[in-house]
Amino acid sequence: MLITKVKDHRKIQEILKGYNPFVFKCFGCREVHFPEEEINEILKEGQGHLKGIARIDYLCREEFTRRYLEAFENEVRATKSILVFSCGVGVQVVSRLLEEKIVFPGCDTFYLNGFQGVTAQDFDCEQCGQCWLNLTGGICPLTACSKGLLNGPCGGTTKDGKCEVNSEMDCGWVLIYKRLQSIGRLDLLKKSAVNVRDYNLIIRAAVK
């Protein structure tokens, strides 16, 4: 899950005024929260400075984007600069397809879960490469715990079972404990070996 946040509005107006860019708006896939209304307002304000706007989905799919670029060939040719409102992947795809242009990202892209479990959310997977859910009652210790602990809670759980990092977020390890207790499987916690992450798994997978 990703979240895109529009950069400082003043900076975007400066780009619009200074570079007269062509604008891409990716209204996004299901995985990305995209603040389209906010972007529309910015573009309305800077209307006179734009070379054109293309609203498309899946800017991250290079083939689609190539075809869109063909459709907007004239507008794109008329400027040196492109402003892209999308997640970081979309910006990178446009940069590769338009090597001779300056491509500005209009958004900052965040992993919705912040860093490990820092932002409260229902479910998430950090793609750790060694799923622990069978030991933890189906609750992910990497994303439900702010420190991604694998061997039980830290000492920071608050009195009402919240995380020391964020009082809005349940302590993932209290959730795991309660779940295992309710299904009568605390033995999974008691008997499990000392768990350690193997980062080489994801490093190797990335290299392949």
């Binding site: 860093f115 490990q116 820092v118 702010s146 420190k147 991604g148 602990l149 694998l150 061997n151 039980g152 809670p153 830290c154 000492g155 920071g156 759980t157 608050t158 009195k159 079972g161 020391e164 990092v165 390890w173 209290v174 404990y177 605390l186 916690l189 008691k190 000392v194 768990n195 350690v196 992450r197």
Partner: protein, 290 residues
């Protein structure tokens, strides 16, 4: 006798704590420890307590060691990955530091460098296991060491943690991974501590009960609301509130001594965290009959 030998002999052990400064002005902190020489068996040195950037624990431990004061090196998993943690353990060994207290550590967002990367590559349990492995001559991936360290490993436990069973499960994992003694979060509720110690007694491992001197009723209320695992009973809050400013230290000393006396038959020692009130520690110990 060192800390390990004292605990083995059954002596009721007293440890205290030093928080290194933010900067290089370490002298006053060494003086604080000097002040307690002969009254306290060993001094924990905190590892950037509360995630606030400070002088290092290891260097401070060595300074104590050079003065003939026994240090306990606190090592957290917040700032170092597994290479750095193992390396720092070996460094501790060659600097003559034997006692190591292993903790997961507070999250970086609780401190003064909110922009920092929280590491947590290992946690308290896995780091204890790794330290035990080093003592057996192997690093974490099984490579032979040229020269093997010797540690007396400790860990922390929070008697007031809810759910308690979860805390006991974690305590047992720490013991299985090599912890040989425990220090606890601050204790104010003796009845609850007794219940905890009854449950933990099955492990047969020394536990040093945590003592934090109350400075005011406000501090007690603050801890009740904000500090995980701490529960100051109303009667102590009332005593502190009733004392006028000049009397507060005396009342606080009395409360700490009462708690220590109550702990004498429940656990194997105490760990005093003076938090700036070092000067009252001798009076606390005297009032408690030491």
């Amino acid at each position: 006798m060192n800390l390990e030998e004292k605990l083995k002999s059954g002596k009721f052990v007293i440890t205290s704590e030093i928080g290194p400064p933010k900067g290089t002005n370490i002298a006053p902190h060494i003086e604080e420890a000097e002040y307690l020489r002969g009254k306290v068996d060993a001094f924990n040195v905190t590892d950037m307590q509360s995630s606030v950037m400070r002088l290092g624990s290891l260097a401070t431990c060595r300074l104590l060691f050079e003065k003939g004061l026994e240090p306990v090196f606190q090592l957290t998993c917040r700032d170092r990955n597994r290479l750095a943690l193992q390396s720092d353990l070996l460094s501790a060994a060659v600097l003559g530091i034997k006692n190591v207290l292993v903790l997961t550590g507070d999250h970086t967002v609780l401190g003064d460098h909110l922009q920092a990367k929280p590491v947590f590559d290992l946690d308290s349990v896995s780091l204890l296991k790794v330290a035990t492995g080093l003592m057996e001559g192997k690093d974490m991936v099984g490579n032979e060491l040229d020269g093997t360290p010797d540690f007396f490993l400790g860990a922390v436990v929070s008697p007031g943690y809810d759910p308690q069973e979860l805390q006991l499960i974690k305590m047992e994992k720490k013991i299985e991974s090599g912890a040989k003694f425990f220090q606890t979060q601050a204790v104010y509720d003796l009845a609850a501590f007794e219940t905890f110690m009854k449950a933990a007694s099955r492990f047969g491992i020394p536990v040093l009960g945590g003592i934090v001197l109350l400075k005011s009723a406000g501090m007690a209320k603050f801890m009740n609301e904000n500090v995980a695992g701490v529960n100051v009973p109303d009667k102590y809050i009332k005593m502190m509130a009733a004392a006028d400013k000049k009397e507060r230290a005396k009342v606080s000393i009395g409360i700490a001594a009462e708690l220590i006396n109550g702990m004498k038959n429940l656990c194997q020692g105490i760990h005093i965290m003076p938090l700036g009130w070092e000067k009252y520690v001798p009076a606390v110990l005297e009032t408690a009959g030491f």
